[in-house]
Symmetry: D2
C-alpha cells in the first residue's frame, strides 16, 4: 500500500508537534507539507519550532521547509491544528480548494453540516460531510474531533448510553497544562495552584458531549436529550485530563453491567485502524486510579481509562475518567478520524480534484 501524502496546518504548535510525532512511521500517511504562521514560513521546520516533546524531531521533518499557510501546493489531506480564530478563516479556504481538512479546532464543531466525530462513538455522523457546499464544489470538506475534555468522557459514556440510556451528567475536570498550548499557562499561575476557570471550556464540553452522543436524523444531528453540567479546572499536570463524573441512567444497571458495557465496547474491532486502541475504554480496579502520570499512555495514549466506580448518592453511579489530552484529545483523535475516512473511501486521492 502506498502511503498518502498529508500536510499539517499549524505544524509548530503543541498539537502540530503531536501530529508529527504520531505520523512518524505511520503506515498509511506521509507528511509532505508543513505550514505555520508567516513568521515561520520559509525556515526549516527544525528552526521554526520550539519542540516540546520528549522524543526527537524526526530528522527528515527537521529539514523540511515550512510552507505558507495557503492551499497552493498543499496536498489534499490536511491535518489542521489551528487556534479557533485562525481556523475559522483558514480551514474553509482549504476545503474550498478541494482538501479534506481533518481539524482539531473548535471553529466548526457545532456547525450543522460539519461532522464532529469520535470513530468509536458516532462514525455515522461522517455522512454529514456530503452536505457541505465545499464537498459538492471541489470535493473538499471539514471533519472535526471534539475538545480534549469531551473525548475521554464521551468514550466512557457511550457504552452506558447504548445499554442503559443517560439522563443526567455531572462532570468536574482537572485539566493538564498542555491543553492550553505553548507558552499557554504561566508557571506563576499554576505551580502549587489550581485555576478554576478555562475560557469557554465548560460550554464546549457540555455542547459537544450531547452532540457526540446524539443521533443523525436526516441531515441534522439531534443532540442527546440529557442534562449535563460541567466544572472545568486547570491543575499542575503536564498531560492527561482527569474528570470526576456522576451519571443518572434511564435504566438501572448493576456495577457488573457497567463494567461489562465498558469491557465489551469495541465498535472498531476488525477494522484494523492503525491508531485505534484495542480497548477504547479501560477499567482500572485499584481504588486510587486512574491517575494522569500512570494511566495516560494506555492504548498508546488513545484509551479512556475509567476507575473508582461507586454508587452516587444523588445520581446512580460515579467514577473517574482519564484520557491523554494531546493524543486522544487532539492529534490522535484527528488521526483516527482520518484513518476511518480512508476506510470509508472518503480519502481516496481520486475523490479529490483541485
Amino acid at each position: 500500500m502506498q502511503r498518502q501524502k498529508i500536510g499539517i496546518l499549524g505544524a509548530t504548535g503543541m498539537v502540530g508537534q503531536r501530529f508529527i510525532q504520531l505520523l512518524e512511521n505511520h503506515p498509511w500517511f506521509e507528511i509532505v507539507w508543513l505550514a505555520a504562521s508567516d513568521r515561520s514560513s520559509g525556515k526549516p521546520y527544525g528552526e521554526a519550532v520550539k519542540w516540546k516533546l520528549d522524543t526527537a524531531i524526526p530528522a527528515r521533518i527537521a529539514g523540511m521547509p515550512v510552507s505558507p499557510a495557503t492551499p497552493e501546493g498543499a496536498p489534499r489531506i490536511i491535518f489542521a491544528a489551528l487556534d479557533a480564530d485562525i481556523a475559522r478563516e483558514m480551514e474553509p479556504k482549504f476545503a474550498a480548494a478541494g482538501c479534506a481538512v481533518i481539524s482539531n479546532s473548535s471553529a466548526f464543531r457545532m456547525q450543522a453540516d460539519v461532522p464532529l466525530v469520535i470513530p468509536e462513538v458516532n462514525a455515522d455522523h461522517l455522512a454529514l460531510l456530503e452536505e457541505q457546499s465545499w464537498r459538492k464544489q471541489s470535493g473538499g470538506y471539514i471533519v472535526t474531533n471534539p475538545n480534549c475534555s469531551a473525548i475521554g468522557l464521551v468514550l466512557a459514556l457511550k457504552p452506558l448510553e447504548e445499554r442503559f440510556g443517560i439522563e443526567s451528567i455531572f462532570v468536574t475536570t482537572m485539566q493538564a497544562i498542555s491543553g492550553a498550548g505553548y507558552p499557554g499557562v504561566a508557571s506563576l499561575d499554576i505551580l502549587g495552584n489550581v485555576v478554576p476557570y478555562i475560557k469557554n471550556e465548560e460550554e464546549k464540553l457540555q455542547e459537544e458531549t450531547l452532540r457526540l452522543l446524539g443521533s443523525l436524523k436526516g441531515k441534522l444531528v439531534e443532540p442527546l436529550g440529557a442534562s449535563i453540567s460541567a466544572h472545568c479546572n486547570r491543575v499542575a499536570v503536564e498531560d492527561g485530563h482527569t474528570e470526576s463524573v456522576s451519571v443518572k441512567l434511564r435504566k438501572k444497571a448493576s456495577r457488573e453491567e457497567l463494567l461489562a458495557a465498558w469491557r465489551e465496547f469495541a465498535p472498531l474491532r476488525g477494522q484494523d485502524l492503525p491508531t485505534a486502541p484495542a480497548q477504547p475504554v479501560e477499567f482500572v480496579a485499584a481504588e486510587d486510579r486512574p491517575q494522569p502520570r500512570l494511566d495516560r499512555m494506555r492504548g498508546n495514549g488513545m484509551a479512556s481509562t475509567v476507575g473508582r466506580l461507586r454508587p452516587c448518592s444523588l445520581f446512580d453511579w460515579k467514577f473517574t475518567v482519564l484520557s491523554h489530552n494531546t493524543i486522544r484529545g487532539a492529534a490522535g483523535a484527528a488521526l483516527l478520524n482520518a484513518e476511518l475516512l480512508v476506510k470509508l473511501g472518503k480519502l481516496e486521492p481520486a475523490t479529490v480534484t483541485v
Copy 2:
C-alpha cells in the same frame, strides 16, 4: 485578662505545628504543655519536631519539653491534633480526667453527644456537650470541628440554607497535600499528577456537611434533609482545598440574592472572638478565582472564599469554594471553637475540677 493555660496533644504533627503558630501571641490562651508520641517525650520540642511552617518556631516553645500524652500534669484545656485511631483511645482519657478537649480528629465527630461545630454555622450544637458522661462526672468534655474538606463548603452553604433552603449538593474537591500530614503524600504520587482518592474522605465530607447544617432537636442533631454527593481528589497544592460545587435550592434565588446572603453572613459579629474573620464568606468577582495560592490567606486563613457563581444546567447554581485546610480546616477551626467556648462560659477554670 489573664491568659488561660492550654496544652496541645499531637504537638509535633502538621496540625500541632499550626496550633503553635496560631497560638503565639494569642490574647486569651497560653501554651504551657505539649505532648506527642513516646518517641518524642522528654525532648525539647525544637528537637522533637520536624517543623514545616515558614515562620520560625517561637523560641519559648522550642525549649519546652515534650510531655507524655497522659492527663497527669496536663492543663484543663487541651487542643487535640491526633490521628483518628489514637484520638479514639486517648481523647476520652483526657475528657474523663476533666479536660475540655477541643479536638480536630474525626474520631468522635459523628457520636451523638459530641458537638461537631463551626461557630458561624451551628454554635447551638455545643449544648450537646452537657450530655456527655465525662461532663457530668469530671466536668471534662470533647468538642470537635469538621474535616478540612467540609468546613469551607459548609461556610459557603450555610447562608444559602438559611435563606433559600438546600435540596441537593454536588461537590468535587481538589485537596492540598498538607491535609495528609507529614510525611503524608509521597512526592512520586502527586508531582505532575492527580490522585482521585482520599481514604474515607467522601464519606466524612458527606456526613459532616449534613450534620453541621442540621438542627438540634432535644439531645440529638437531626441532619439536614438534603442529598449530597462528593468526589474527593488530591492535587499538587501545598495548602488550600478548592471545591467545585453545584446546589439545588428549595426556593429559587437570584445571583444578587446569593451574593447578598454571603455578604451579610456575619453571625459572630460583635462577639470579638480573636480568630474569627470579619467576613466568614468572601466573594471574589474575578472570573478565574478563587485560587489556593492567592486566596487561602483571606481572613488570616479563616475565610471561605467563593467565586465563579454561575447558573447550573442541572441544579440551580454552581460556584467554586476555597479554604485553607490547615488553618480554617484544622487548627484555626479548633481555636475558634475554643474562643466561642470561652464566651459561653464553658472554658472557665472553675467549671473544671480534676
Copy 3:
C-alpha cells in the same frame, strides 16, 4: 515625621506589585503616583494590574489611576521596576527631570557613575551619584540594586571578604520562577523540570558580585580581585533563589570563624532603617536547610540564609545560600536603598528641584 511622596514606575509588574505590598504602611514613604505602560494608563490600578500576590491590593491603591510614564506630575522619588530595555530609555528622563530614581533594573548597574548598592555591603559607593550629570544639573540621579541572584550571595560573601579575603567563588543557582516576571516562564517549560539557562544571568551575577564587593577608588569602583564562575538554572519554585557556593579564602579560617563572621555582621545596626533585617545573614544549622519554602521569609524576606557549611575538597568551604528574589532580590532591595538615602540626606525634598 511626615511621609515622603513616592512614585512607582512599572507598577503593574511583579516587582511593582511587591513595591506596593512593601510600601503599604511604610513609616517614611507614601505612594502617590503609579505609572505603567500606555495600555494601562488612565485605568484604576486595580483594573490595570493582574495582581499575583497573596495579600489583597490595598484599597487606596486599587482606586488610584495609573499615570503615563513621564516625569510630568511625578513625585521626586521614583521606585523603578522596569525591564532593562525600557529602563535604559526611561530612567534617564526621570533623573534629568530631577527625580531620585531608585532602580531595580539592570540597565545602568555597570555604568561607572551609577551606584550599584546593597546597604549592608557597600553603602559608600553611593558617593558616585554625585558624579552623575543629572545630579549636577537637576538634582536627579539613578541608584541601582543588584540582580536577584547576586544579592543573597553577596550578603553571605561580604563578611567573609572582610575578615578573610576571597580569592575564588563557584556558584550554581536554582532560581525561582517569579524572577522572570509575569507571564514569564511557561508552565510547560518548568513543571517537573529544570531549565539550565537564564539569559544574561550568569554574566550579571559574575560582574555584579565583583563590583559590589569592590572598592570605591576616587570616582570609580574597582571590582574585587577575585575569580568567579556561575551556573544559573531555573527550577519549579515560586519564590526564593537557592545557591550552591564554594569559596576559596585568602586567609584560612575555621568553621567557627565563618559562623562568627556571619553572626556578627550587622553594618546597619543602630540606623533604624525600617526595612533592614536585624540579622542580614542568618545561619541555619539543620543539615537540609536552607530551603526556599521554609526560609525565604526570614527577616521579612530581607535576610540571606546560609546553611550546610562544610569543607570543600577543591576550595576551602562550601555552603548553600538562599534569599527571597522579589523581596531582598528586588523591591525590598530598592526600598532599603531608599531608606539609606534618606539617612544620608540624599532624599530630602529640598535637594531636588524640578
Copy 4:
C-alpha cells in the same frame, strides 16, 4: 540463542520495577524469579507491588509469585535492587551460593575486589571479580554500577579524560525524586521547593567518579588523580538528574575538540549489546538544554546528554549534564553490565556451579 534465566532481588521497589520494565522482551534474559521482603513473599507480584511506572506490569510478571529473598531456588544471575543496608547482608549470600550478583546498591561499590563499572568507561575493571573469594569458591561474584548521580557525569567526563586529562571537577546536582525510591521524598518537602541535601550523596558522587575514571593496577583500582567537589540538591523533577559541571583539563582543548571527543566516544561500537545506546554522550546545541523532561529518554534513557558548553572563568570549561536516574542511573546500568558480562563469557551457565 536461548535466553538466560535471571532473578530480581528487591523486585517491588522503584529500581526493581524498572528492571522488570526493561527486561520485558529482552533478547538475552528472561525473568524467572522475583524476590522481595518477607511481607511480599508468597503473594503474586501484581498484588505485592505498588507499581509506579507508566507502562503496565507485564501480565506474566503480575502473576508470578514473589519468592523469599534467599539463594535457594534462585537462578544463577541475579539483578539486585536492594537498599544498601540490606544489600550488605544479602548480596554476599547469593554470591557465596554461586550467583552472579549484578548490583545497583552502594554497599560494595568501594570494596577493593568488587568491580564498579560503566561498560563504556572502565570495562577492564571487571577483571577484579576474579579476585573475589566467592568466585573462587562457588563461581559467584558481585559486580556493581555507580550511583545515579555519578553515572551521567562520568560518561561525559570519560572522553575528556582520555583526550585531555582532567585535573579538577566542580559539580552541582539537581536530582529527581525517583532517586529516593518510594515513598521516598515527602511531597511537603519538595513541591515548590529545593532540598539542598541528600544523605551521603556528595561523598558517593566524589568517590565513585574518581574510582570509575581510575586505572586498574594489578589487583587494585587506582583512583583518578583529580580533585572533585560536589554539591547535591533535590528538586521537584520526577526523573532525570541535571548537573552543572566545571572542569579543569590537563591539556588545553578547544570547544570543537571537546565536541569531537563526545561525538566520537563509542567504546562499545560493534559489540551489539542490546541496551547500549548508539551514542553514549549526546551533545544538544540549543542554549537552554538539556532539560530532564525533554532529554532524559535519549538513547532509550541510556544516553548522557550534554549541553551549554561554554568557557569557565575559573576552570576551563563548564557545561550541563543530564541522565535518566532510574534507567541509565540504576536498572539500565546494571542491565548493561550484565550484557557486557555475557560478552565476556562471565555469565555462561557453565561457569556457575552451586
